[in-house]
Subunit: 173 residues, 2 copies
């Protein structure tokens, strides 16, 4: 078949975005990067994604300029969101809010709060107390009522996120 | 492999959302529904999606309660966004804005405006003139500088969207 019109050069921005992040694992990897996950092994353990798939998706995200490989502790290379990657936050937040609204029967697993006053954010990212449009770096991810305590999430990322954590702050070097 | 932790019952809302809309065509179909596309043939022509794929994705969206089959003109059955589907607008808007920011070298193909005062919306959906958080139904999709005139988009949807159009208003019965 011919290439869909919406995938040609000057094409629809939604289509172009989906070429980069329109795949299930990709946005989960990006979300984890917002949570401060940097190590290949931590992404793999937290997402239980097959390592070959993770390798492929990370390479695509680096190629697209969403993630960058940077030096980590010792000789380790880790992944960090670029500014282009950070600008995906409204997408991650909007998809998470939609899922919370329609699928979080036990309440949200994670609640995003304004670090300045600890108030939860609205679905469009404004502080419910001071009405600021909260920057990614001023956002805390905190445990919500839907976060089971016995659901077997004992990987280092899940354990770290049982306490409030500031977005983009590395969970470890 | 065992099911990823994030795909279990009370799982992360982003993961659950991606199970429903985490596939390229799916969100393009949803976007077209916001633009007022209702007929199978119009989705197929506008997206150039293989009919078998479209049939499958539409069935999934109906199954998920994002789209509903409703009676159209004559004996035709058409698709409409449910309230659950309409609540995906911030996701479509955020992904489109991200693509506009990073890939729309000729400027956006579509500009979203507040129907009340015709002012463009911010990436987070507020009116740049009156600062209202604009409802989906009060949003116009209008042609932008990146919308080529000679790019061969001569299907009924592309032609209709060369004029301002209110979101959710059917392009035809």
């Amino acid at each position: 078949m011919t290439l869909p019109r919406d995938y040609t050069g000057q094409s629809c921005s939604l289509a172009r975005s989906l070429e980069v992040v329109g795949e299930r694992w990709t946005l989960l990897i990006v979300r984890d990067a917002f949570y401060g996950v940097r190590r290949f092994g931590d992404f793999a353990a937290h997402l239980s994604v097959p390592r070959a798939v993770l390798t492929d998706r990370l390479a695509n995200l680096v190629e697209a300029g969403v993630l960058a490989r940077v030096p980590g502790a010792g000789r380790r290379e880790v992944y960090e969101l670029t500014p282009k990657g950070v600008s995906l936050w409204p997408v991650v937040r909007a998809l998470t809010s939609w899922g919370d609204e329609h699928y979080a029967t036990a309440g949200p697993r994670r609640i995003f709060r304004h670090a300045a006053d600890d108030a939860p954010l609205t679905p469009d990212g404004r502080c419910t107390r001071c009405d600021t449009a909260v920057e990614v770096r001023d956002t805390l991810v905190t445990p919500g009522p839907g976060l089971g305590t016995g659901d077997g999430d004992d990987d280092v990322v899940s354990l770290a996120l049982r306490r409030p954590h500031r977005l983009l702050q590395p969970l470890r070097d």
